[in-house]
Structures are given as structure tokens and as C-alpha cells.
Amino acid sequence: MNAGSTARTFLAPVALGVLAIALWQALVVAFHVEPFLVPSPFGIAGAFTDGASNILTASMATGLNALIGLAIGAVSGVFVAIMANALGFLDRMLVPLVAALAVIPIVALAPIFYAMFGAAAETGRQLVAAVAVFVPMYLNTLHGLRQAEPVHRDLMRSYAATKEQTNRILLIPGAVPYVLTGLKIGSSLAVISALIAEYFGGPAKGLGRAITSSAAASNYTVAWAYVLGAVLLGAVFYGVTAALESFAHRRRSGR
């Protein structure tokens, strides 16, 4: 049973992936599907290895923006959530603004940020990623800060702890797992947002530019190799944050 469940968590998804890729390859070969419809997985893999260094360079450019955006969004999301939790009115004032922020599409936001912060700099992209990260960060942190159990609140009050002490000792550590959940959700959003923002300005580097310029020349196998790069980059971001999250949850499990 022990071995069985390990097999399930690791082998099952791999098996499904292999199956899907095999089927994909078989279909492409059997029906002579044109690459502009669906390139073959082997073709993509080939283009991926051929262009590995270009893809790596592009991934680094996009990944750095995503990382900075993630950091800005995470820090500001947590900070604003702490403020909103401490000042009830701020929380209520932010409700419509956060709701609006959650539904502004990147395509609308990116041009504004480039106009504000300069189109030749990476700042606009980083901020687009930051905004995408901010929303889940803020909501999760706020939720986490409110999870403090009444017994703990009573305890802090009985110690005549200051607001600052209550925040530092009780609320913020208690919110950590929720903060990390927000970070996990935000991580892949950061990558996608930074990538899409490349369409609208900033230095012509990165995965987004590479995807479009390959696609514009009908070079879909290469375009897909860059998409694969984007997926891997997103997976790395997600994987690292998910590992952080589960580590925190494991440390915290059971009360």
C-alpha cells in the first residue's frame, strides 16, 4: 500500500503524460498533420534541444521579470492585507478596488504601465506580474490573518499584548500557510503575465517575443519549443512555491 501510493503519485501522471504524447505523435504521423496545426512532440523536442540556449536566455529574461513581479506583488499584497486587517475601514474601502483589479485583463493594464513607467524598461512587465500576484496574495493573506482562533486572541488580550505584538506573534505567523498558498497561486500567474506583457512593450527579449516572431514566420515547431519553455518556467515557479507551501503546512499540521 505504501509503495502503491508512491507509485500512484509519481507514476500515474508520468504514465498519462507519456500516453498522451505517444498518442499525439501517432496521430500527427498517421494523419500527416501540418506543423501549423499541431507540430509533432518529437519535432518540438528537437527544436527545444536545438534552441536550448536561446530558450534558456529568453526564459531567464521572462523569468526574472516574473520573479521581481512576484516579489513586489507578494510583499505589497501581504503588507496591504496586514494594514487592512488592522484597520477595518481600509479593508472595506479596498473591496471594490480589489474586485476591479481582479478583472482588469493584462492586455488593458500593460499599455498603461508602459506609458507610466517607460516602455524601454522592464518595469511595466514586472508591475503587470505584480498586479496579477497582488490579488490572490491579498485575499489569501487577509483570510489567513482572520483564521486566528478566538482562544489565541483571548490569550493575547489577557497578556495585554499591543497590536503590534499581536500581529507579530500571533496573526502573521498564523497566516503564513495562507500566504504561501497565495504565493503558489500567484507564481504561475506571474510568469504568464510577464510573458503576455512582452507583447505590449519593453526590450524585445523573452519568451513572448520569441513565440510571436517564430509563429509569424510559420515556424510553429520552434514557437512550440518556446511555449514548452514557458510551461517549464511556469512549472518551476509553481513547483518551488508549492513545495514551500506544503513544507509550511507540514510544519503546522495538527494543533
Binding site: A15, P96, M116, V231
Partner: protein, 290 residues
């Protein structure tokens, strides 16, 4: 004052404060923004970067163009918003259905969960702007009898691609949320999987589902607008954003109109989802964030 009314008032206060902050900064901040070295850390305050809030509002009441019979801007935006909302709603519906089906599959067979869940997560790391043209191209291959795949269908499919994810993940959590004792009770009644699903798991999943439905709605809106831009479907907010970009320098206030439209449909869709929540209130005991 009722809690709801005070919430609305505070919300309005928040919007006013944000507008005040905008105008205040625009008034005080330097044209070139606040720079550290070459890096702009606080935005520029030129009319192009930050138009006056009242100019944006005033622009809404002027016609889109000076051409004969051009619609007044707010009306054009409203029409585009309604168009995009319709597609987003369809995308939401497809996404929610698919997400629920996936969650059921994963709840039913633990091996399916292990096999599928990582790919579900990975699917969200695919930049959708890259898949949008593909969906359109695949769609153009589809003709069944008189049925012809239309571009707006591609947009709806892309919207659903973003919408299904939170639903699948939260619904799975919700379906697994009943306490062991409750599940035992149903086992003791030798209830079938279906009965347990209908009478226990689905009702229990509502508190998990509601926030994810809202998130799915927001995602569907974002997906619709991005896909409209990407594959160039006319009539909606996405297309309007690119079209108006051509006048971004000469008429900066105009570019904000479709953004307001996007926010509007986002909020309307959240409101519509909240209506569903009213119908399911009996099953709600606090929400579990998606």
C-alpha cells in the same frame, strides 16, 4: 445603518480615495516620474500616462469618432461589454461544466486524481496568448454539416480554459470535504456512490465552489478579452482596446473607456455569480477561499 449599506459607503469612499490619490499624485508628482537612477519608480504624470479622471469620464460622453452617426462612447463601450460578457458567460459555463466533471472524475478514482491533477495545474502555465490562434485554427477545421466553427466560439473555448481550473481544484476539495463520520454514515446506509454524491458530497462542496465560481467568472472575462485581442474577434472589449490604442497619444482618455468596460463586465459577472450563491444559501456555511 445596515452592514450592507455601510459596506457600500465604505466602498464608495475607497473609490473616491483612489481617484483622489490619482489626482493628488498627478498634481504633485513630476512629469517624468520619480526616478532612482534610470529606473522610474513612481509613474509619470503627463496627460498621456495619467489622464485626469474627469477627462476620462467626460470622454465617455463624447462620440467615438467624429464620423457621421458615430455612437457616443459610453454606449459603444456598453455594447462591446455586453458582447464580451455574453462570450465570457458561455466560456464560464463550459469551464464550470468541464471543471466539475474533472473534479468528479478525480474524486471517484484516486488514480485519476494522481494522474490528472498535475497536468491540470501544468495546463495553467501555458500562456494562453500562444494557444489562442491555435484554437482558432483548429476550430476552422471543424465543419459538421451546416455547422461552421465561428471565431467567437474559439474565444469562448479560451475563456473556458482559464475558467475550468479554479473550479476543478476547489470542487475536488469540496467533494472531499465531508467529514469521515458523514461518509461513514452513508457507508453504513450502504448508499451508492451516486447517492453519496447527490446527498452529501455536492451539498458539502458548495462553500468551496462559490468562491471558485467567482474566480472562474473573473478568469473567463480576462480570457475573453485577451483572446479577442489575440485572434481579433470584433465587437468586444478586446478589439476595442487595440483599436483605441491607435489614438492613445492624441486622445489618451479614450483608451481608458474599454478598460472601464472590462472592469464593468468583471463586476457584473461577479454579481451574477453571487445571485447563484443566493439560491444556494442553504448550503453555505462560511466560504473557503479558492
Amino acid at each position: 445603518m445596515s452592514k450592507r449599506a455601510s459596506g457600500v459607503l465604505w466602498g464608495i469612499a475607497g473609490i473616491v480615495a483612489a481617484l483622489g490619490l490619482w489626482e493628488g499624485y498627478k498634481w504633485l508628482g513630476p512629469d517624468d516620474g520619480v526616478m532612482i537612477g534610470d529606473l522610474i519608480v513612481l509613474p509619470r504624470t503627463t496627460d498621456i500616462a495619467m489622464p485626469h479622471t474627469w477627462d476620462v469620464v467626460a470622454r465617455l460622453f463624447e462620440p467615438v469618432t467624429r464620423a457621421e452617426g458615430a455612437d457616443v462612447l459610453w454606449w459603444a463601450v456598453l455594447q462591446a461589454a455586453a458582447f464580451s460578457l455574453g462570450i465570457a458567460a458561455l466560456g464560464w459555463l463550459i469551464g464550470v461544466t468541464f471543471g466539475l466533471a474533472l473534479a468528479l472524475l478525480m474524486q471517484r478514482w484516486i488514480t485519476a486524481e494522481s494522474a490528472v491533477l498535475p497536468w491540470v495545474v501544468l495546463s495553467q502555465t501555458v500562456p494562453l496568448i500562444a494557444i489562442a490562434p491555435l484554437v482558432k485554427r483548429w476550430g476552422s477545421e471543424i465543419t459538421i454539416g451546416s455547422f461552421q466553427w465561428e471565431n467567437w466560439m474559439s474565444v469562448a473555448v479560451i475563456a473556458s480554459y482559464l475558467a475550468f481550473f479554479p473550479v476543478a481544484v476547489s470542487a475536488l476539495r469540496g467533494l472531499k470535504s465531508p467529514e469521515a463520520a458523514d461518509v461513514d454514515l452513508f457507508t453504513a446506509y450502504s448508499a451508492s456512490w451516486w447517492t453519496t454524491l447527490l446527498k452529501l458530497r455536492l451539498p458539502s462542496s458548495v462553500p468551496y465552489l462559490m468562491p471558485s465560481l467567482r474566480l472562474a467568472a473573473a478568469n473567463a472575462v480576462v480570457g475573453t478579452v485577451v483572446a479577442e485581442v489575440s485572434i481579433g474577434l470584433g465587437g468586444g472589449i478586446g478589439r476595442m482596446i487595440i483599436e483605441f490604442a491607435a489614438t492613445a497619444s492624441g486622445d489618451p482618455a479614450k483608451t481608458y473607456a474599454p478598460i472601464l468596460g472590462a472592469v464593468l463586465i468583471g463586476l457584473v459577472s461577479a454579481g451574477l455569480v453571487a445571485l447563484i450563491g443566493v439560491g444556494l444559501r442553504r448550503y453555505m456555511r462560511g466560504e473557503v477561499p479558492a
